[in-house]
């Protein structure tokens, strides 16, 4: 069975400017892929091409084995697309809007009600079914945006910044919604919130200046960058002694002091998170009071910063 998405040499020009250049990647069925990149890196353009909203300048894209240039109409039946701004008609109620979206995507009128109810169930929007979209909060609007993307049960869901502008509670709710959708759909989502990508996605695609600069799981990316991850330790006492003690463990690299004051130091150590028990023992054996030890919280951030640190082309 072919991959859900296969992209070969995808290029898109806006006038003289290449928004994306020679992209190559594949996404298997059922995967949840995080699409990472700075503003203007080419994420939205790529997602719009995959969503059949824009046509590519060059390259080949197949979705579910169908060539995007040959039969975009057929591909649109198999995808659900949430753009960065949810395409909501504010003068409609949620229920009528979702029914319209379902029928537009080919759900027969008699089955549209059931499809809408299921989509509302998955996105927790059932209670606002009769409300005007203009009266909804930002969080609900985002969820209705996701509901319209999945109301026709597409094989592929493309979500561009689904958590954009949400507060922390709404982000958690959206993450739960995406977790619920896992398995039923192949999901490609972009986000600026790295912790969300880290917790939601199986694999990452990192785009920079219109080119894919890395792809793989978070662990694979960390390993390929030579870091193998980081460990964060909080100790009572001078940081230099703690770093010296921790580095006696094989596999632990350089230590960076993140914060120091009032006799307490927060240190980030280069090394695989699996080494945490050994580091803890080493610190205790050297007479250092260990207050906390954890996997590096900023791991994905540091990977992202390393990958996107290159100069603009």
């Amino acid at each position: 069975m072919p991959s859900m998405i296969e992209v070969k040499g995808l290029t898109k020009y806006y006038g003289e400017h290449a928004a994306i250049h020679d992209l190559n990647f594949a996404i298997d069925r059922g995967e949840v892929i995080g699409f990472l990149g700075l503003n203007g890196a080419g994420k939205t353009t790529t997602l719009k091409v995959l969503g059949c909203v824009l046509l590519p300048t060059a390259g080949q894209v197949t979705v579910d084995g169908i060539d995007i240039a040959r039969d975009p109409h057929e591909i649109r039946r198999r995808i659900g697309f949430l753009p960065d701004t949810p395409p909501l008609y504010s003068d409609m109620t949620v229920g009528r809007y979702l029914t319209f979206a379902a029928e537009l995507r080919g759900v027969p009128g008699a089955e549209a009600g059931k499809a809408v109810a299921e989509a509302e169930e998955k996105t927790a929007t059932r209670e606002v079914d009769g409300e005007l979209i203009s009266s909804l909060s930002h969080g609900y609007r985002q969820r209705v945006g996701v509901a319209q993307a999945l109301v026709h049960k597409p094989k592929l869901l493309i979500l561009d910044e689904p958590t954009s502008g949400l507060d922390p509670v709404q982000i958690v709710e959206m993450r739960q919604t995406i977790h619920l959708l896992k398995g039923e759909h192949t999901i490609l989502l972009s986000s600026h919130i790295l912790s969300e990508i880290s917790q939601t996605c199986d694999r990452l695609l990192v785009i920079q200046h219109g080119e894919i600069v890395a792809q793989g799981s978070e662990q694979e990316l960390a390993s390929s960058l030579g870091g193998g991850g980081t460990i964060e330790v909080e100790v009572a006492g001078p940081s230099a002694r703690a770093i010296e003690a921790a580095r006696t463990v094989a596999g632990i690299g350089e230590g960076t002091v993140l914060r120091e004051g009032d006799g307490i130091a927060l240190i980030s150590l280069q090394g695989a998170p699996d080494l945490r028990p050994k580091v803890a023992r080493a610190l205790v054996q050297n007479g250092i009071d260990l207050l906390r030890i954890d996997r590096g919280a900023a791991r994905l951030e540091s990977i992202f910063l390393k990958l996107t640190a290159g100069p603009p082309q």
């Binding site: 046509l55 109409h73 649109r76 697309f81 395409p87 008609y89 979206a101 537009l104 319209q148």
Partner: protein, 241 residues
């Protein structure tokens, strides 16, 4: 239901739910009523047929202006608010989007136009007019409205904002109306070209006086087709940009 009818139904609902739709309808009916009272009924005594002819003449002007305002939002507003993506990412052809939008605007204009029927009814009750004259006049208004709305749809496809769409459409409509004046100051064969292109001066007066010529019907249908075809091409071209 086909995608075209789905889009047309949604869009018509949007007109009927919006304040703008009611403002346009109210403005057309008030202006039509005032012009009818002041010029068609007022002045020296006239035959009923002349009064009806004047009614259609004034109505043609308000139909053209209303069409530009009704159609300016069709695609430009969707692009402005970002909702066009819902349609362009759905399994719907661009021509279905354009046709659905156009049909909704046409249905709304038809409702407004038919709401003016009380004025001819007054002439019918108090004078003597033929039913054929009435039908021909309204057919002319709807055909003129269809052509102007299609031009407006094309303008709305070109523009990024509603105001720009109204300006584009207004310019195109005025250019086609001015063809009639240009025909008067040019010589053949250029004159024939201008005459055949004139949106109002050449093709509407027969309807106004109760006569239906196939050439006039074909002209308005052709303008409608060409404008909608162009709007579809603009939509398709935007996917490449």
């Amino acid at each position: 239901m086909s995608a075209t009818l789905l889009i047309a139904r949604r869009e018509l609902g949007a007109y009927l739910r919006s304040m703008t739709g009611y403002v346009i309808a109210a403005a057309v009916l008030i202006i039509n009523g005032l012009l009818f009272n002041a010029f068609a009924l007022g002045g020296p005594d006239k035959l009923s047929a002349e009064v009806l002819s004047l009614f259609f003449y004034f109505s043609s002007g308000t139909t053209i202006i209303a069409s530009v305002f009704i159609s300016m939002r069709l695609l430009a507003e969707e692009r402005q608010t970002g909702t066009l993506v819902l349609l362009t990412s759905s399994p719907v052809h661009d021509w279905e989007i354009v046709l659905g939008k156009f049909l909704s605007a046409f249905a709304f204009l038809a409702i407004i136009t038919l709401a003016t029927v009380y004025m001819p009814a007054l002439i019918f009750v108090n004078g003597k007019i033929s039913f054929g004259h009435l039908v021909a006049g309204y057919l002319g208004l709807l055909l003129l409205g269809s052509a102007t709305l299609a031009i407006g749809t094309f303008g709305s496809a070109l523009a990024r904002t509603q105001v720009l769409a109204a300006i584009f459409s207004g310019c195109m409509v005025v250019a086609l109306i001015v063809c009639w004046l240009l025909a008067k100051v040019t010589e053949r064969p250029l004159q024939d070209v201008f005459v055949s292109m004139a949106l109002h001066g050449k093709h509407f007066p027969p309807f106004q006086s109760g006569t239906v010529h196939l050439r006039d019907v074909v002209y308005y249908l052709m303008v409608t087709y060409i404008a909608l075809f162009s709007a579809t091409r603009v939509m398709e071209a935007r996917r490449w940009r």
